[in-house]
């Protein structure tokens, strides 16, 4: 079926977009907009089941606890973390604050249990800082070396690059499934196979993939998978870490305190089982509940297939028009099909911050800066270590892209008369 990007059946579900038709929001890779059902969900939680989860012995607290457990199971099912009978491995889903915290948990708690001096951790040059700095730190602590997978000029990490970088010294491979700058989807399956063949563990940063495409951690070959709710229509402040049970089980907690213990004596404590072991303190139960509603809207009401079709059509439309502007340089692959919702670019001779400021005057929201990927921009030799980025979601439409293109033309004429 042809996708009609001029029609927009979704906008009405998003109060900010519906109430501000003058805004063209093209920064969903930074954070998504939220549908009304997600905003209502937080309120619904506080109005009908608010109590501190886990500890209360009265039914309201039990309800709050059950609400969280239900979302764990929903997420496990969504990302393919199920046992052989298809039953969700709900207890292997840990709630954190965001992807950064999820990845820090793996780098700080799991990595020291397997890394020793001389080992190698492999990441890619296109990692977001949140899947980069934690590994720098882990390597420094263990005396291990951080090795970088580098893509070709179309953003592809080739088989030979994988073979050259992943070997017997590799202990951990941490890879972003989709790049927040180049928009490419990395060959996670191949990378994971090479890692496992060498006895290494695989950590997948799904911050830019889980909001846009179906994820199956078994097919990916992931040992850990992290993503953030706020990029997937959910509230800010909720992150997810899924891990293989035996790995989570052997990891020490990163934070300690309330709600993460079984028993405490004057000099010692026994940790609660996974996942509570990693969730010290009172969780943001209302936001976890709202995350469940967000993921249900995304995966069931809209559906990943429709999300993919629409976002791909929007990217094609955007890149076709950008290609007609000879003063715009697109960063990343030439083929729109390789850009998963993300198009980075520069306007020749004009600083990205000026581009974003001028576009903002006509209501076009794009990102400009280093996109938390300074090593990538350094390696690519991008001027000023900065670029502009337009990123789409299914709730965008052709009018948003038209406003964007008009904005780029306005930027050019502002500086070049």
């Amino acid at each position: 079926m042809a996708i009609d990007i001029h029609a927009n059946p979704y906008k009405q579900d998003f109060p900010l977009l519906a109430n501000h038709p003058e805004i063209a929001f093209l920064d969903s890779a930074a954070t998504a907009q939220r549908p009304a059902c997600v905003l209502d969900a937080s309120r619904h939680f506080y109005e009908t089941m608010n109590a501190n989860p886990l500890r209360g012995l009265y039914s309201l607290s039990v309800e709050a606890t059950e609400a969280i457990a239900k979302v764990r199971a929903q997420i496990a099912t969504l990302i393919g973390a199920v046992d052989n009978t298809g039953k969700p491995l709900a207890n292997d889903v840990v709630f954190t604050r965001n992807t950064s915290e999820s990845l820090n948990l793996v780098a700080k708690s799991f990595a020291p249990t397997v890394l020793k001096a001389g080992d190698e951790v492999v990441i890619s040059i296109m990692e977001h800082h949140s899947n980069l700095i934690p590994w720098q730190q882990a390597c420094r602590k263990a005396g291990a070396t951080l090795v970088y997978l580098r893509p070709d000029d179309q953003g592809v990490i080739t088989d030979s690059e994988i073979a050259a970088k992943i070997g017997p010294a590799t202990k951990i491979v941490a890879i972003g499934e989709v790049s927040n700058v180049l928009g490419v989807r990395n060959p996670v399956e191949k990378i994971a196979a090479a890692a496992h063949a060498n006895g290494a563990y695989v950590v997948v940063d799904g911050a830019q993939s889980a909001p846009h495409m179906a994820v199956d951690v078994r097919e990916l070959g992931a040992d850990f998978f992290a993503f953030s709710a706020h990029k997937a229509l959910g509230p800010m402040g909720i992150g997810v870490l899924w891990g293989k049970h035996e790995l989570l089980d052997q990891m020490p907690p990163m934070l300690t305190g309330g709600e993460m213990i079984d028993s405490v004596t004057e000099q010692d404590a026994v940790w609660a089982p996974v996942p509570e072991k990693f969730e010290a303190g009172t969780q943001d139960a209302a936001s976890i509940y709202a995350t469940g509603v967000a993921l249900d809207y995304l995966a069931n009401t809209v559906g990943y297939e429709a999300v993919q079709d629409r976002e791909q059509a929007l990217v094609v439309y955007l890149m076709q028009q950008l290609a007609e502007l000879d003063y715009v340089d697109v960063i990343g692959p030439d083929d729109p099909a390789l850009h998963h919702g993300v198009v980075s670019f520069n306007v020749q001779g004009i600083h990205p911050h000026d581009v974003a400021s001028i576009m903002d005057m006509s209501g076009v929201c794009i990102r400009a800066g280093h996109h938390c990927a300074q090593p990538l921009l350094t390696w690519l030799g991008v001027e000023n270590l900065a670029c502009c980025r337009a990123s789409v979601a299914f709730y965008n439409d052709a009018a948003d892209i038209d406003a964007f293109i008009a904005g780029v033309k306005q930027v050019w004429s502002t500086f070049n008369g």
């Binding site: 911050h353 000026d354 502002t414 500086f415």
Partner: protein, 141 residues
């Protein structure tokens, strides 16, 4: 803010800066950076008998940072160190949102048109880069 990018005089300072060059024999040199933007600027002054006889800058950055630097160099040329310090203080306070007196705006001359940047927190650092560099340089004196 809209006025700045459409102001011909302001944009001229970006595209054809009079004071962007490497000085032969500066008496004072000071570097300034905006880590989050990647803007880099080196400010050079030739000071004789407490008077700024020559001011110039080199570096790279967005239009706001470049034009602001050029406007500043123009403004402080021929001024005493003390007056330059006062002007930098006025500018930095204006850009952070303080209301100045009519006289102060007049003293800032062309620089006063950057007033509206105070409504754009993301760009404040760009506008003040040269002035912060001047301030840091003169504080050391």
């Amino acid at each position: 803010m809209g006025n700045l990018y459409t102001s011909t005089t302001f944009m001229e300072h970006n595209s054809h800066p009079d004071y962007k060059y490497e000085m032969d024999s500066p008496t004072l040199t000071h570097d300034g950076i905006n880590p989050s933007c990647g803007d880099e600027l080196t400010l050079q002054l030739r000071v004789e008998n407490d008077v700024i006889e020559e001011a110039s800058f080199v570096g790279h950055g967005c239009a706001i940072s470049q034009a602001s630097a050029d406007i500043m160099a123009d403004l402080i040329t021929g001024e005493t160190i003390e007056e330059a310090k006062r002007l930098a203080g006025l500018f930095l306070s204006m850009i952070r949102g303080d209301e100045l007196t009519e006289e102060d705006y007049e003293d800032l001359d062309e620089a006063a048109q950057l007033k509206d940047i105070s409504h754009m927190p993301a760009r404040v650092k760009c506008a003040e880069l040269a002035w912060r560099t001047l301030d840091g340089m003169l504080d050391k004196q």
